[in-house]
């Protein structure tokens, strides 16, 4: 859903001239197996996040309502935790927070990268130097220890603080890529002609430059979303998330704290970790597939033989 929503917004910005491209995107996804798998996974998680109550009959996954440490059975598909909570229900209800973090952080980080990357390239001169230096600093300073330190000071368990920090530390890679692409666009004819027409700077950037960069922006969104999913899960795992809210990382935190592996409750660890991995994989697969779509040289099979015989 996230991918199509984002593609939808960029699509509408360029709607008057290039509406077929959204259709092209859908065709491209359906013809690439990696993209297809990624999109289906994302769709499933989106449905789970929107309507968790449809998929389980337990509607209070946090309640310590059942016997502790039950093995999987027909009433508890994945067993229960050491606190007597239904693992399957927790899993279903935990989807929402993970997905919201991914989409919100991915989206905001992308907005920041676009703002900084494109203005650095377009303004040039001293502003470019300053913005690029800031980007590079954010790029190489190891963000995870920084996040840990900030989270320790700011108090644990505040979702907004966590998302804010993730955005702050997640935009730099995209900004660098976008700056590079915007630089290569700067002197193209269609931008020159817009300048000659006397269009305003903001108009040129928003309506002329950004639409041509939409595939890279989309790739950035997917990359940032992946970063957000994994980093948030890591933070929740070490107990810096909201320990009373329902999320996969927090489930892993409690599982680790109760020695779930050593006490014969592997499902308590396997299931939420697998969900994090699958959500991450859906973003990664989509991202890689877009790479293949926009760079035909990377595509597998058919071209290979042609290339080999040519050599």
């Amino acid at each position: 859903m996230t991918a199509t929503v984002l593609a939808g917004t960029t699509g509408s910005a360029e709607a008057p001239r290039r509406s077929p491209r959204l259709g092209g995107l859908l065709t491209a996804i359906s013809s690439n197996r990696k993209a297809m798998v990624g999109a289906v996974l994302l769709l499933v998680f989106t449905v789970l996040a929107l309507a968790p109550q449809l998929f389980t009959s337990y509607h209070d996954p946090d309640a310590h309502a059942y016997d502790v440490g039950l093995p999987p059975s027909s009433s508890h598909w994945l067993g229960t935790t050491a606190f007597g909570q239904d693992i399957y229900a927790q899993l279903i209800y935990g989807t929402r927070q993970s997905l919201v973090i991914a989409v919100v952080v991915g989206g905001l980080a992308t907005v920041v990268s676009v703002l900084i990357g494109v203005s650095a390239a377009y303004l040039g001169g001293i502003s470019d130097h300053v913005l690029s230096a800031v980007t590079d600093i954010f790029l190489v300073v190891p963000t995870f220890p920084l996040i840990i330190v900030i989270a320790a000071y700011a108090g644990k368990g505040n979702l907004l603080v966590m998302m804010g920090v993730l955005v702050l530390t997640g935009w730099s890679y995209g900004a660098r890529q976008l700056r590079a692409q915007a630089l290569s666009l700067r002197n193209r004819d269609f931008l020159q002609s817009a300048r000659v027409r006397g269009e305003r700077r903001s108009y040129i950037i928003v309506f002329e430059m950004l639409p041509t960069m939409s595939s890279l922006i989309l790739a950035n969104f997917l990359g940032s979303a992946l970063y957000a999913v994994l980093t948030a899960a890591g933070l929740q795992f070490i107990g810096l998330g909201d320990n009373s809210a329902m999320s996969w990382g927090t489930m892993l935190h409690w599982a680790q704290n109760n020695g779930a592996l050593q006490t014969g409750q592997p499902l308590w660890v396997v299931a939420p970790g697998l969900c994090v991995a699958l959500l991450g994989a859906s973003f990664a697969l989509l991202n890689y597939a877009f790479d293949e779509i926009s760079n035909p040289a990377l595509r597998p099979v058919r071209r290979t033989r042609a290339q080999r015989s040519a050599v």
Partner: protein, 328 residues
């Protein structure tokens, strides 16, 4: 030369930024976490140590911010990070010196191994387009690169330790009853304990290097100079390593510098999962005990380590790429 000077300048700039951020964080936070910590210390420390900590955390309101900053810089540069709360009354520096070798030995070695190994496999995979390696590895590695490090570590513990009745150790850096020293049994014990955490980092980080290297190779192999090399009748080996791989490696090297932070994040969590007594494990302990002096010193140290690694990457780039050496 100019390139190296530029990179050195950037290194210093970033270092300064990190040190300054470290100074500002405790001062910008709501409430008074540092003051609460100082209260816990009250009466247990000699006055000069209390004074040093007051400067480090901005509790001392008698001096101006600028004086505090200068004194903080001086303390940082001379390695005076104060006293650890967790390991009271030991100094932060002595604690860090104990943990650092474990992290360098495990994370450092494995990260370099993953990069070198991944780059080699990527080279071969890009060279043999459509071969067995090339057709089934990329999708696999796309998925492994999305796995959470710590969860992979937990799965390895489940498979190789819990389900096999403790075939491999999953806790700490060496057995509790081992006698530390340069003896063969002790070294074997240490290696055995390092196996699972090393495997975790290797399995989750190598995929990214393979994929990017493969993609770079594919792009480079289409270049004219590769065709030229073939036309000259050079051996495949020579074309592959000295013409294609050397050029394809450049973006990978830059990528290595950039994703090091991600590897460090994973390594911290892996140390936590395996109770490995390195810097990451110590950092999380410090956070749990609200041990701010230790926490901030560790953040600085990890940052410096990453920045040095980035600088090394820059030097390698200059060595591999004549353009970087000559151009501005």
């Amino acid at each position: 030369m100019r390139f190296l000077l530029q990179r050195l300048g950037f290194f210093l700039l970033t270092l300064w930024a990190a040190i300054t951020v470290n100074f500002l964080i405790p001062r910008l936070m709501p409430g008074d976490p540092a003051g609460a910590m100082m209260a816990r210390f009250h009466g247990r420390l000699n006055p000069s140590a209390v004074q040093a900590m007051a400067i480090a955390f901005g509790v001392d309101t008698h001096t101006s911010l600028w004086t505090q900053y200068v004194e903080y810089l001086h303390n940082t540069v001379t390695g005076n990070f104060g006293t650890s709360l967790t390991y009271f009354p030991l100094s932060v520096s002595s604690q860090i010196a104990q943990a650092a070798p474990w992290t360098l030995g495990l994370i450092g070695v494995v990260t370099v191994l993953a990069f070198v190994g991944g780059t080699l496999i990527g080279t071969v995979s890009g060279w043999r387009r459509g071969g067995v390696v090339d057709s089934f590895l990329p999708p696999v590695f796309v998925v492994t690169s999305a796995l959470p490090y710590f969860w992979v570590g937990m799965m390895l513990i489940l498979f190789f330790s819990v389900w096999t009745n403790g075939a491999l150790p999953n806790d700490g850096a060496y057995s509790l009853d081992a006698v530390p020293g340069l003896s063969f049994p002790f070294i074997a014990d240490v290696l055995q304990h390092a196996l699972l955490p090393a495997l975790t980092i290797l399995a989750t980080s190598i995929g990214a290097w393979i994929l990017t290297m493969r993609n770079n190779m594919v792009t480079v192999l289409a270049e004219d100079y590769v065709r030229m090399a073939r036309a000259k009748g050079l051996s495949n080996r020579r074309i592959m390593y000295q013409y294609a791989a050397r050029n394809a490696m450049l973006p990978n090297l830059a990528g290595f510098a950039m994703s090091l932070g991600f590897v460090v994040a994973g390594a911290i969590l892996v140390e936590y999962v395996f109770n490995y007594p390195g810097l990451g494990y110590m950092l999380l302990n410090a956070v749990n005990n609200l041990d701010y002096p230790l926490m901030q010193a560790l953040f600085l140290l990890i940052t410096v380590a990453v920045l040095v690694a980035v600088l090394i990457c820059d030097f390698l780039t200059a060595w591999l790429d004549p353009r970087a050496r000559s151009a501005s």
